[in-house]
């Protein structure tokens, strides 16, 4: 099996923020800052690039929100995306365990 490439911080946090349900760009950005206690921010250029690339990879997909009067784009994790996130978490966990062994 091909070894998966390490994910960029932005990809990782975007997927993490979508794990519990669909969200819009601003929601992802806020949640990322909250989760990382302000360590990680996702600027608009980074957000557009990351979501575009992950949609091409099939990790996330775009849906239109139906609640409220305003139609907004929501991003939703796909099964492939969930797998990729899980693989990355496992990779990070292994790395942490290795650090603890030393």
């Amino acid at each position: 099996m091909k070894k998966s490439e390490p994910m960029s911080e932005s990809y990782y946090y975007i997927l993490l923020c979508l794990a519990k349900g669909a969200n819009h760009g601003y929601g992802i950005m806020q949640m990322t800052e909250k989760l990382s206690r302000g360590d990680v921010t996702i600027g608009s250029g980074t957000m557009y690039g990351a979501t575009s690339n992950m949609m091409k990879k099939g990790w996330i997909k775009e849906i239109m929100s139906t609640e409220g009067a305003e139609r907004r784009r929501l991003y939703q994790l796909t099964d492939t995306g969930r797998k990729a996130l899980r693989a990355e978490i496992n990779r990070l966990r292994r790395m942490l365990e290795n650090a603890e062994e030393v």
Partner: protein, 301 residues
């Protein structure tokens, strides 16, 4: 009161885009707000009551509505795009916010992706100019003339500057700016202009003459003086293709205004290509003498 506008014709190289962003910010602080950004000129409107911070992005946007939405969510307003794929964005300046609030690329990977797109474009273009320089170099070696020298020179400069730009862009660090870049950009555009001008003007000024004569039988010797005239508008190497087929030796000559022979060839069977002849400015003509049936074709360029 009517709005007050101004235009700026200052150009920036792609690898110096951060300098452009900084200058836009400075202009905004001085009350000039960007209306339309462009490669060759930008338009500003006077409004001293607001301050913006600007950013630039380089990419082919698949979904413009989504792009604008993602930027709007964080307070960015899309200004416009240039024909070659640069986008201008602005955000109202709030002194209370940290500098990071005005970054659009917040990790190294995404900034690299953006600069990498331009690097790729410039590298391909630079290599293409390089290939053209090599082709031109071969032409200069085999048959040198002034327009080819100029072409070769401009292709080398263009290729070099593009590859240098790609190299700089690839190594761009956040916040990096280059000083005195206008000169380089000026040289680049001057080369493009000179290359095109030499191609159009100098090439067009060459004689580019193609002519032939023939006779099946000749009863008395033919001496044709200046059966074709042509002008040389600038001193250079010119190239003659000559084909002679005759029963008795035929003499072909090129003569100048004073009827001095600058080139001569005699034979019954000649087929020469790209004979290099140095010609000065002036008027020239072909001369031929033969006393048998013949066929003659010549061209000069």
């Amino acid at each position: 009161m009517a709005a007050e506008y101004k235009r700026s014709f200052r150009m920036y190289s792609a690898w110096n885009y951060m300098q452009e962003v900084e200058d836009l910010n400075k202009l905004s602080d001085e009350g000039w707000q960007l209306v339309r950004g462009g490669c060759f000129h930008s338009k500003f409107v006077k409004n001293p009551d607001i301050r913006y911070r600007y950013q630039m992005d380089y990419q082919k946007i698949d979904d413009m509505a989504r792009y604008i939405e993602i930027f709007r969510e964080q307070g960015w307003e899309y200004v416009n795009s240039t024909f070659n794929g640069w986008h201008y964005l602005k955000k109202l300046y709030d002194p209370a916010l940290p500098d990071e609030a005005y970054e659009i690329f917040t990790d190294r990977e995404s900034l690299r992706e953006m600069t990498g797109r331009w690097t790729r474009f410039a590298t391909i273009l630079g290599v293409l100019f390089g290939i053209m320089a090599i082709i031109e170099a071969f032409r200069v070696i085999t048959a040198p003339n002034i327009p080819r020298f100029i072409q070769l020179f401009t292709f080398i400069i263009e290729s070099g500057l593009l590859l240098r730009g790609a190299f700089i862009m690839r190594r761009t660090e956040p916040g990096q700016k280059l000083r005195h870049d206008s000169l380089i950009l000026g040289i680049f555009f001057a080369c493009i202009f000179i290359g095109a001008a030499s191609n159009i003007i100098l090439d067009d000024m060459r004689p580019n003459l193609n002519t032939q004569q023939q006779a099946d039988e000749v009863f008395e010797p033919i001496i044709e003086n200046r059966w074709v005239d042509f002008d040389v508008k600038y001193p250079d190497n010119y190239y003659l293709d000559l084909m002679i087929k005759a029963d008795e030796p035929l003499t072909f000559e090129i003569v100048n205004e004073a009827d001095e022979v600058v080139y001569t060839e005699t034979g019954t069977d000649v087929d020469k290509k790209d004979i290099r002849i140095k010609l000065r400015r002036g008027s020239y003509g072909f001369r031929m003498s033969v006393n048998s049936g013949f066929e003659l074709a010549c061209s000069i360029d």
